[in-house]
Symmetry: C2
Subunit: 306 residues, 2 copies
């Protein structure tokens, strides 16, 4: 069904989208301005998966790109992914401190000594700000939430599929352990079908997160063995590794423990999330169907713009 | 036409929106999760003003919440508003540095010494990432661009109208000096009408930006005297100061000089922006018409959802 415009390598694909004006590059790798055409597809896909979430009875929350610093400190993210996180620092000095900061900026020197940590950090996954909001006892059957927001990961790259600032949409279930596993299993199948219906070639694979350092290798191995992370991947070209456009994570009782979330019967809640890489899905659609959405296959257009 | 739900003070208004579930508060003042109801109004207003921009022939760009550090350093923002800016810092150390960072986090100590400045900073106005993209010679008549994105300003407050993370939509004209002034004047009137048509009480006032420090007082005075900044303001209650829901800024040749933008005839380009405070407009609409958009006046609903 899908008619690729070209069997582009990641580098050629990037060049095509920049030449077509679908994205505009900034001075920093992994940071792009998004055109109206790109955003219309992103809005349409977000609306499509949100309709699915609403049909399941999910509540929708949209988050800001930053979250309280204390929340991130409690999640364990900084133990596992310190190299990807972003901390916000601000100037709180006086006129004299300001003059010195400007002198450093104008001299091309590091001016970070003029700054101090703000009570905020960037979000690295769009469900991070959700768990602190769920502290307390859940209703019978748990809660299903549909969240979206901007994420930051410090991994400068010229591969469009690896942006420093990107958006996710996640379905999060918080409640009983067996329901968390069932929700994950169900959405791996349903999510794959959503993407296949849009003309994407999708495989389901067992995966691991990019844990940091020596300890991280063990964590990645454990995660693989327990099949806690599964990804829906697609390929941009035959020569490079497939990339995930969606993934599911079983958290077990990690967030329940951390933020004091309990089931209706008073046990520590389990959670799972099924996350869509919004910008990656949009990129995969442009790759599969070309740079002019008006010319995309009719059935794909009907699903995106019903 | 507008039927305020209550003559709320800012504190009462905040409490009403939190109680209604329109927003959810986080642990940090000025940071909120936005409900589906809130986002539907935000999307509708964004679409409304983008239709107006498209009708004028504007090109639309959406930006990420972060931008290249070097761009912000060049704009002069850090000279004028150091207290509002946000700098992104990241961990680039090894396993030993990581262990020390985690020790500090777990001990509740400042762990910022483990971090170094990233090549990115947060956007403080959504047009900031645009100017570096416009370097070079403009076409005859200049360019009109419609931009949107998330902004960060470090000013923790419990006033909903003063969030730390919020969205703007801006119309930016870059080109000839007289056209820049004419565009500003035209949009002060047209922008006011857009808001009045949505049932908001709006006044146009000469204003100044919140420049930092001793030098800032002089900059604010100059800006007021030259009428470089004009705001469209609305009131939440009679007892507190009106807040801007839109504003226009004449930049003269500031960005043209900084980023080497020239007119078709080779002169340094002038620029102006007309910016909508997207979240503030949405808040003003909830204040004016109540927490249930389904019950808003029919003509307001028709303008938002034509």
């Amino acid at each position: 069904m899908a008619v690729p415009v070209s069997a582009a390598t990641p580098a050629e694909f990037r060049q095509q989208l920049l030449a077509a004006g679908t994205l505009a590059a900034t001075a920093e790798d992994g940071l792009y301005a998004r055109s109206d055409a790109f955003e219309r597809v992103a809005l349409a896909f977000d609306a499509l998966v949100t309709r699915r979430a609403t049909a399941m009875g999910a509540t929708r929350w949209s988050f800001a790109p930053i979250q309280p610093r204390a929340s991130l400190e409690r999640t364990g993210y900084l133990a596992s992914f310190p190299h990807l996180a972003g901390s916000v620092h601000v100037f709180t000095g006086n006129d004299r401190d300001h003059a010195e900061m400007l002198r450093r900026i104008n001299a091309g020197e590091d001016w970070s000594s003029a700054l101090s940590p703000a009570p905020t950090v960037l979000c690295s996954a769009c469900c991070q700000p959700l768990y602190p909001l769920m502290s307390g006892r859940l209703p019978v059957g748990g809660r299903l939430v549909d969240v979206t927001g901007w994420c930051f990961r410090h991994e400068p790259s010229r591969d469009l599929m690896r942006m420093q600032a990107f958006r996710m949409v996640e379905y999060v279930y918080v409640g009983e352990a067996p329901e968390a596993v069932a929700f994950r299993d169900e959405w791996l199948g349903r999510g794959r079908q959503v993407l296949v219906d849009l003309g994407l070639g999708i495989e389901t694979v067992t995966a691991n997160d990019p844990f940091f350092g020596r300890r991280g290798r063990l964590l990645a191995q454990n995660q693989q063995e327990a099949e806690l992370k599964l990804e829906l991947v697609t390929s941009i070209d035959a020569g490079s590794a497939p990339v995930a456009v969606a993934s599911s994570n079983l958290h077990r009782d990690h967030f329940g423990q951390t933020f004091g979330i309990t089931t209706s019967s008073g046990e520590v809640a389990h959670s799972t999330c099924f996350g869509w890489g919004l910008d990656r899905v949009v990129l995969a659609l442009f790759h599969a169907h070309g740079t002019e959405p008006a010319g995309w296959p009719a059935d794909v257009r009907t699903r995106l713009w019903p």
